[in-house]
Symmetry: C3
């Protein structure tokens, strides 16, 4: 795993960067340990396998440090916070920090439960490379609505990259702000698609020195695969296998042709 | 969420009612909090998303009350009764009762385990709007085999609606008894299809004052989607995505053309 | 459930044996209780349903003995070892031993976590009928790399059958060694395919007196279904439903035509 120094790429180069990171993920068989919610585990593993990486998923508190230390990155998703996950997550984050592994936080439904909000804030103190959230989750964490300015300010204050996903994805660190316009509405009709997509963010942060660009290119790859899958899908049922196939078959020329980032 | 008063519909009107409830589910983005078994979580969420609603799935005891109170209805499924679910279920039911949310009980495999039977009986005391079960589960709970008479008597004694699913679904409250004949054998070859179907029962009970008619129309929608999916499926593998597509695309004219209720 | 005495079949007869065991599984509706990892639960259940059996999946410590005693065999998979599974597995194994039910062990990722390795060794003392593992897991358990000789020696020392899966599957007891060459690389791109396949091993051990031949024929069935599924699949997404369809539709003539065992 070699990490390039943080780059400041012309945004027109992001689709090509996406292609090269995807090729490296496949060549290096990137391993992501994912502590994720019960509905996301299978699709998260299948998405990473389709992309060419190797997932592991255990949530046992006494095992997550070992699994994290032998992975290239860590994903922490708060979607179903049972007692094992509550105990395991701090240990996994500590292991990632101790071994200098990048890690990514996905605070699912943090707006729906006060204890989850408190738990998410404690996680944020561990400085995730990327915080992936939607507008409702951002508002709960930040205490105000998401705008380009508030997202950038939140990223700066917490020393992280915020990847705010929606019809257009907005990715910001304290300085720069990128937009990714790829994607398809059917992605919101398959449970845990966003959670699973965050695994690719985690994988790309291990491959590229700029977490901002890693997050943006990962979301671009997911969005392009979603657009390809939607061409033939008759609904959310056939969309999901088509999405995994599209990700499995995706190459740089297709990403360059279809990627829309600015 | 407006609930019509309990109605006594001519059964020939059930397919049209099914169509209008499905349209309202989509328009109102009905939220169901589902505490369901590990094998059912993904398909339950995907079924509700395909139908047009919004699922949540957390089983954390300290969170389920919040999630239940912001949902339109609650689904409790006993399929994998680990320690978190055992602790969470009473709190979720209490929250549903406190906030006057409809809730539905699915006592999976209750005939296979004495502690589960005892737990299910304690749940029943919370008067679910609908008890969805198969013949084996009913027999374990009731202490005798399911017949139209025993099902009606059980419903009356427990102040609930019994939705007994099988080749023909039998839905009864203490007074009336409805039959729904839609469905396809491939539905029994996909794990947790019945569990997932119960989510739609939970959603419809929030939209219609008669839990009897809500349950019958939800099962009719599921059965019609299953029949459409089976037309092109080559087995249980392709059946599942086809089912979600069919549910996503289902409309009132199709339900009226294909629905068989009496 | 009648078990033939241990047989010593000419390996050319293995595909025909596979077909007859699959037919018996369907006719007798074999029940497997699977304590398996979170990412494997759905596909494990769907694989067994597609094959014609009946799965149950509960991991609650107070329930697994009941579920095991009413099943025809037990599958124990160590993929996500949370506190409930740690407590449940010894009780399920004890129930299998007390009721003379065959049971199968799948020590997933045992090389990645010292506490898991210790737990797996304790399970092995309960003498599983079959230990299903890959080369990395075998090496961790045995303390040396897998070769035909070391696999045979390990099987003899532990009184079990080792089913070592890979590009070619190697199945050995203390005396004989079988090779199964069916399968397709796409099977490694779907999470938990190997875990799910082990359910069929568990089912076949209940139907045939030789655990060696039961394991080999189960893996042959899975491999042939994988080859059929790969013909039309465009990637790992469409591969999975195609695999379940192929298994659902598989018959003896196809197994005899495509099976490659020696």
């Amino acid at each position: 795993m070699t990490s390039a120094p943080s780059s400041i790429l012309n945004t027109s180069k992001l689709p090509a960067l996406a292609g090269s990171l995807l090729e490296r993920l496949r060549a290096e068989r990137i391993r992501v340990h994912a502590i994720t919610n019960a509905a996301a585990q299978t699709i998260t593993a299948n998405l990473l396998l389709a992309a060419g990486g190797i997932p592991s998923l255990t949530i046992a508190p006494e095992e997550v440090a070992s699994f994290t230390s032998r992975s290239t990155s860590l994903l922490v998703n708060l979607g179903t916070l049972d007692s094992d996950r509550r105990a395991a997550i701090p240990q996994a984050i500590a292991s990632a920090l101790a071994h200098a592994k990048p890690w990514v936080l996905d605070p699912v439904f943090v707006e729906a439960s006060p204890p989850r909000l408190e738990f998410a804030r404690a996680c944020l103190a561990g400085r995730p490379f990327v915080l992936r959230c939607n507008a409702g989750e951002f508002a709960a964490l930040a205490g105000h609505v998401a705008t380009p300015e508030t997202v950038r300010a939140f990223a700066k204050a917490h020393g992280t990259v915020v990847a705010l996903t929606g019809a257009v994805d907005l990715i910001a660190d304290g300085e720069r702000l990128l937009l990714v316009e790829n994607g398809h509405p059917l992605m919101t009709r398959v449970t845990a698609m966003g959670c699973a997509a965050t695994t690719l963010v985690a994988a790309f942060t291990a491959l590229h020195g700029s977490a901002l660009e890693a997050a943006a290119t990962a979301l671009l790859v997911i969005g392009v695969a979603g657009e390809i899958a939607a061409r033939d899908a008759k609904g959310p049922g056939t969309f999901q296998p088509a999405f995994l196939d599209a990700l499995f078959n995706l190459d740089s020329p297709t990403l360059i042709a279809l990627g829309r980032a600015s």
